[in-house]
Amino acid sequence: MLLAAAGVIALLAALNWVPSLMQRDFVKQYNSIDEAKRSSGITTVLIPTYFPEGISWPASFIVAQKRPYQALVMEFSETASGKTSLIVIQSSSPDAEKQFQRIRISEIKEETEFPLKGRSASLRTGTCDNGMSCSSLTWQEGSIYHSVLFMSSPFELIKVSESMIR
């Protein structure tokens, strides 16, 4: 019986691997932003040039996909604790935030429209599901939806987001 179960597990693992032979555009982890950018097919990837103190560059975790929709996610962590603190998501789908955000705002305290260098962005502040206060900013640029989430007050978040737009 246990042998049969091991066989089922092996078969499932093989079935999970086969699609990557047939199509190479599915979600995958990457080591560099350039590699992820090429794979996602997003022509203009916005990268922050300002980082609040204590946030380390380069990104600690990068994932990207071309199918079923284009998406690229960069996570930056705190230098001291190594915990994810800043998440930048860029995608052709408005649903990507729900799928890709490792940390989410569980309780929204305030939601306002915010002018971000001439773009209309939505600013949310509240508490994230890890219990820390956090804020997020989302806006659309052409066909790409951008979302930046930071484990802090909105002031630093706005600076990070503004540094992405030149």
């Binding site: 179960a5 089922v8 999970n16 199918r67 079923p68």
Partner: protein, 337 residues
């Protein structure tokens, strides 16, 4: 070609994930259950029914339970480390940029059509027919010879012969209705074709159905199966469970009468002749459906007749295989999204 956004939105939604995972989880559960039946050489139809029911129940409830305890189970990070990510298959494009999800949806659509045509519609029309016949038609009055043959066959069986309704029909028809006033319906064709002994074992089988209806496992399984109307594996497992019910009732009929050989002969006599299913008016698909019905019905009767007399008692610890199989299914399916 880009995959339509509404399709990806649906697949990644709660109900989209529920449908996909329910089907995939039921396939895995069915394979593991089958392996357990083979590994532990389980022969009792009652124990096999428990396995079939387990597959249906787990297909229905596993996804909501997993999501309740781990709400992030459907997100990309969980999928990256999962054993099998269904989305990797659904979004593969083949045959002119058509995602495989469309093929999956087509299979579910066919299952829904089969459910409506073969299970829902017959039940509803039968209910309507019963309501009409009870209010309009008078029961057929059988002659005393036929009545006494039925009474003789029921002698020693725990059933009142007043609850047997005889219909004037040359075909071999025998079935029972359960509920508050259980009844056995038998045709004059069957009464005259069968000897009293054969009639006794056949009636004992129907008595077993009525006795079993006091613990309505099949109705419970059917209700769960209705909730999984889109799931082809649940449909197959429910049908196999219903087939096992016939075997359970065969075993009870043997206990009641002590005549396994006679029951085996009676079942052989009920096997349909090929011409019974050949309607000259049937063409193409109708002919195919008719032929499939004949073969599946005949196969069931043959397997029932063949197993009679073979010992099918399992050991006292038959619950262990079910618990082990269930634990394996729950653990494996958790990592299948």
């Amino acid at each position: 070609m880009d995959i339509p956004m509404h399709m990806t939105t649906f697949i990644t939604s709660y109900w989209g994930m529920y449908i996909a995972q329910s089907v995939i989880h039921s396939i895995i559960a069915s394979v593991i259950a089958e392996c357990a039946i083979l590994a532990w050489t389980i022969g009792s139809p009652q124990v096999k029914q428990s396995f079939r029911l387990m597959v249906i129940v787990l297909s229905l409830v596993s996804f909501p339970i997993y999501q309740f305890f781990v709400p992030r189970r459907g997100d990309v990070y969980f999928r990256l480390s999962s054993l099998l990510d269904s989305n990797r298959w659904f979004f593969i494009e083949r045959w002119g940029s058509m995602p495989i999800f469309i093929v999956f949806t087509a299979i579910l659509a066919i299952t829904v059509v089969i459910f409506i045509i073969q299970e829902l519609f017959p039940i509803l029309s039968d209910m309507l027919r019963q309501m009409r016949t009870t209010s309009l038609s008078a029961p057929y009055e059988a002659d005393s010879e036929i009545r006494s043959k039925v009474a003789g066959a029921l002698d020693g069986l725990p059933f009142d012969d007043r609850l047997v309704e005889i219909s004037d029909d040359d075909d071999l028809a025998l079935f029972s209705s359960t509920g508050l006033k259980p009844m056995i319906y038998v045709s004059t064709g069957l009464i005259s074709s069968f000897s009293t002994e054969h009639l006794q074992v056949a009636l004992a089988h129907e008595v077993a159905h009525i006795q079993r209806s006091r613990k309505p496992l099949l109705i419970f399984a059917y209700l769960l199966r209705v909730l999984l109307f889109f799931n082809p594996v649940a449909m197959i497992e429910f049908r196999r469970l219903a087939h096992e019910e016939e075997k359970v009732c065969d075993d009870i009929a043997i206990e009641l009468t002590g005549k396994p050989d006679t029951l085996s002969e009676a079942i052989e006599m009920l096997r349909p002749a090929p011409e019974d299913y050949e309607d000259p008016g049937h063409r193409g698909a109708e002919r195919l459906v008719s032929s499939l019905e004949y073969h599946s019905h005949d196969l069931l009767l043959r397997s029932r007749a063949a197993r009679i007399g073979r010992p099918t008692q399992d050991g006292p610890f038959w619950g262990v295989p079910i618990i082990v199989a269930m634990a394996l299914i729950i653990c494996i399916n958790y990592f299948v999204v």
